[in-house]
Amino acid sequence: MEHLIPIGLNHYLTISAFLFGFGLFAVMTRKNAIVVLMGVELILNAANINFLAFSKFNGGIAGVMFSLFIIVIAAAEAAIALAIVINIFKIFKSVDVSSIDTMKE
């Protein structure tokens, strides 16, 4: 096990970047509003990883506190967003984000 390099900051950041990329991709490409929300959750968690990684390598507790906040906010966001999606479905009979464009013009 000793030939393995220790896990450094870049590893965390790389995983976070990938996670962010997947999340963004999901947000940009998926048509289902639920999936878009899941993409948003991925992006938030990518940010969490970043915070925790920086917290771990820089010391201090600020990053941990931020990530805790983000988790709470993500929960709240998920609750509100799902409520909105339910209402959108009630109105448009669909959760397809590409078809919901009545605010255009």
Binding site: L24, M28, S98
Partner: protein
């Protein structure tokens, strides 16, 4: 305030009260309020008579004078004019007292007479109101102590004259006559106002006393010609009001008014106001101005007399006679016979008012027939009118034992004296014209008396198509061409005639029927010493007497040494006026007065001869029919027509002034339509063009900018709108692109 002043204010305001009450309430009063007019005038006359009694009979002082004034308007120092303070004031001297009594008496008699003459007229109440305002204005003129207030009352008199001439305004002739009278008076009044302004510009006061004091002190800074001009301009007011030669044309036409009005205004009082005014300003008239006045008076007297001999309208004869007699008065003032002229003013007022009221009685009795050709034989029907009319006629003709004889002879004696003193020549024209007019006066009055009162009635001779339109303006329903039942008029018309006729007898004025100078009038009204000499503009000359010394003070000394050699010496002094300038002014008056005194008896002889000649001529022509007047008229037809057509003055004025005014107004109208309108239209055109350019600027530049802004915003919006797809994912892509773009930009900068 002197009690006489208080009384005179009451006298002044009473007729105004009568006017105010009658003009507003005449329809609500019984008899349209005529008793009120008569009563108020009676009161005014009673007070005037008391003033007359106090001043003339009790005081009996030629120099009597009380004055009172108050500041009416004080404008302080007006820029460009100087101090401007307008005062109102009253002066009572002998002349005022006499005039007051005369005006109120005649006005009272005319009021009384009018209750008979105007009875039944539809504007009966208004008539008395107008008489009231006329009397008020006339008394104002008489009482005024300054030029400004006299001018105000002067215009008021003109207004009331206008109203009364046009009393029957439904008649075109009356409406025309009133306009003519007003316009002719305006011409004169403009001159009078200019004269007032000349004096005001010099002395900054309107008061007679102050102006004379300043003049006597030699404070008139302009040349003497200006003083003469001021005198002649002031005299123009008299020319208009007293119907002197260039402006006499209105007075005969003014006979369109009711006959009592003719008696009051156009014979006795208003027309005499001009003479009164000249008497008031007499002391500032330079000898040059006096010469002009004398010649105008003489010419007027002669011209009007020649016209009067051929007129057929009973009132027109009297009107021209009035013009002629006014000419006498003006002549008298011009030659310096001051007292005589005013004496004639008063005597004439009474006998001419009597004649007019008499003619009114005749017209009334004849049912508004005014043409003497269709009268005749009235003597038996109207004995009272006949007697009074004849007495007044004798006074007018100037037969001895009448008042007119004394006053006319005093004027003519003054004229002879003046001509002698001035050294003869052309100045003898004045007495000659005067005497000739006296003869003509006797002739035309003899003709009138004969045509009206003697012979047989000629009513039936009147052509049927020549009916007068005069009667329809009257409210009465008399038939003009029925059987003429001519009756004597009622007592209220007869009483004034009798009173006026009595006042035409010599004894009222003088105990000596041949010499008016012995009477109270001539003794009370003395010639005031002039305050201007021919060379008074020379300021170095100190006046001897600035406080208006009276003739009587100057006369004795002149008379004392003048008994032997005065006339010749005085004339030679006149030839060399450098000797002593200021005493010359007085000496000239004294000399004329002396010469006039000397000419007293010659004047009596000549005028008596002329009058007898005139009456004889009338008798020869109309009574004994030795000369047939119609045939004579045929043989001298051009002269006859010349006189009948009033010297063609109306036609001359028509051709010159009226045509001239029409041509001038046409020229002005052309100027107006072409030049003024052209300018206005040009301005309008330019404004229109400017407005068009302005409009274009607004439309294309301002609106263009606004529209362009809107357009650009619109276009930008349309472009930007494309980016708002409403799809969240598009926005995320854009966000990513921008972030990516930023990174590219950032790293590019980092590299370079």
């Amino acid at each position: 305030m002197h009690s006489l002043i208080q009384l005179s204010i009451v006298v002044l305001l009473l007729p105004l009260l009568s006017f105010v009450i009658l003009i507003f309430f005449n329809r609500r009063l019984p008899r349209r309020g005529d008793f009120l007019g008569v009563g108020i005038l009676g009161t005014a006359f009673a007070i005037s008579a008391y003033i007359f009694w106090t001043v003339i009979v009790q005081t009996y002082d030629p120099a009597f004078k009380v004055a009172w004034d108050f500041t009416w308007i004080d404008l302080g120092k007006v820029p460009g004019i100087g101090p401007l303070q307008i005062k109102m004031g009253i002066v009572i001297d002998n002349l005022t007292a006499i005039m007051l009594a005369m005006v109120t008496l005649i006005s009272l008699l005319v009021h009384l007479y009018s209750t008979g003459y105007m009875a039944g007229d539809k504007n009966y109440g208004r008539y008395f109101a107008f008489l009231g305002i006329f009397t008020f204005s006339m008394l104002g003129i008489v009482l005024s102590d300054n030029l400004f207030s006299i001018y105000i009352f002067w215009e008021l008199v003109g207004l009331s004259s206008y109203l009364l001439i046009g009393f029957f305004f439904e008649k075109d002739s009356a409406a025309d006559a009133q306009k003519k009278a007003f316009l002719a008076n305006r011409v004169g009044d403009i001159g009078m106002w200019l004269g007032i302004l000349i004096l005001y510009s010099q002395f900054h006061t309107f008061s007679f006393d102050q102006i004379y004091a300043n003049l006597a002190a030699g404070k008139f800074t302009m040349s003497n010609a200006w003083l003469t001009a001021a005198g002649i301009l002031l005299f123009m007011g008299c020319v208009g009001k007293s119907a002197q030669f260039p402006l006499h044309i209105w007075l005969p036409d003014a006979m369109e008014g009711p006959t009592p009005v003719s008696a009051l205004i156009h014979a006795a009082t208003m027309v005499a106001a001009g003479v009164y005014f000249v008497a008031r300003i007499f002391v500032l008239l330079t000898p040059d101005a006096l010469h002009v006045i004398a010649f105008i008076g003489a010419f007027t007297a002669f011209m009007a007399a020649t016209i009067a001999i051929t007129q057929n309208d009973i009132k027109r004869v009297l009107a021209y006679s009035t013009v002629s007699q006014l000419g006498y008065m003006v002549l008298g003032l011009g030659v310096g016979a001051y007292s005589a002229a005013l004496f004639h003013l008063v005597t004439h007022a009474f006998f001419k008012a009597c004649l007019f009221l008499g003619s009114g009685a005749i017209i009334h009795a004849m049912h508004h027939e005014q043409d003497m050709r269709w009268m005749g034989g009235l003597r038996k029907h109207m004995p009272w009118t006949f007697a009074t009319f004849t007495l007044a006629t004798l006074a007018l003709a100037g037969l001895p034992l009448t008042s007119g004889f004394m006053s006319k002879d005093a004027i003519l004696a003054g004229a002879i004296g003046f001509a002698n003193a001035e050294g003869g020549g052309v100045y003898y024209l004045i007495p000659v014209l005067g005497f000739f007019s006296a003869m003509l006066t006797a002739f035309y009055m003899g003709r009138q008396i004969w045509l009206v009162f003697f012979g047989e009635s000629r009513t039936h001779l009147k052509p049927a198509d020549n009916h007068h339109s005069a009667h329809h303006a009257h409210g009465d329903d008399h038939d003009t061409h029925g059987a003429h039942e001519v009756h004597e008029v009622s007592w209220n018309m007869r009483a004034p005639l009798v009173i006026l006729a009595v006042l035409s007898v010599f004894i009222v004025y003088s105990p000596n029927p041949l010499d008016g100078a012995e009477g109270w009038f001539m003794k009370m009204i003395k010639t005031p010493a002039t305050v201007v000499g021919p060379a008074n503009h020379n300021c170095a000359v100190q006046p001897v007497k600035s406080a208006a010394p009276l003739m009587s003070e100057v006369l004795p000394s002149v008379a004392a040494h003048g008994a032997t050699d005065s006339p010749a010496e005085a004339v030679s002094e006149h030839g060399t006026p450098k000797a002593s300038e200021h005493t010359f002014a007085d000496a000239r008056q004294a000399e004329i007065a002396h010469a006039a005194h000397a000419a007293h008896f010659p004047a009596i002889y000549i005028s008596s001869i002329m009058v007898v000649l005139g009456i004889s001529l009338a008798l020869v022509a109309y009574v004994f029919k030795i000369i047939d007047p119609d045939k004579t008229a045929e043989t001298i037809r051009p002269l006859y027509l010349f006189s009948l057509n009033k010297w063609y003055w109306d036609e001359i004025y028509e051709a010159t002034f009226i045509k001239g005014s029409v041509v001038l107004s046409k020229m002005l109208s052309w100027f107006d339509t072409n030049v003024i309108d052209g300018i206005v239209n040009g301005v309008a055109f330019i404004v229109k063009k400017v407005a068009f350019a302005n409009n274009s600027f607004d439309k294309y530049v301002v609106d263009g900018l606004v529209n362009f802004t809107a357009f650009s915003v619109n276009t930008t919006g349309a472009v930007l709108r494309k980016f708002q797809t409403g799809k969240v994912q598009t926005y995320v892509v854009m966000l990513l692109v921008v972030v990516f773009g930023y990174f590219v930009f950032y790293f590019t900068r980092l590299i370079y």
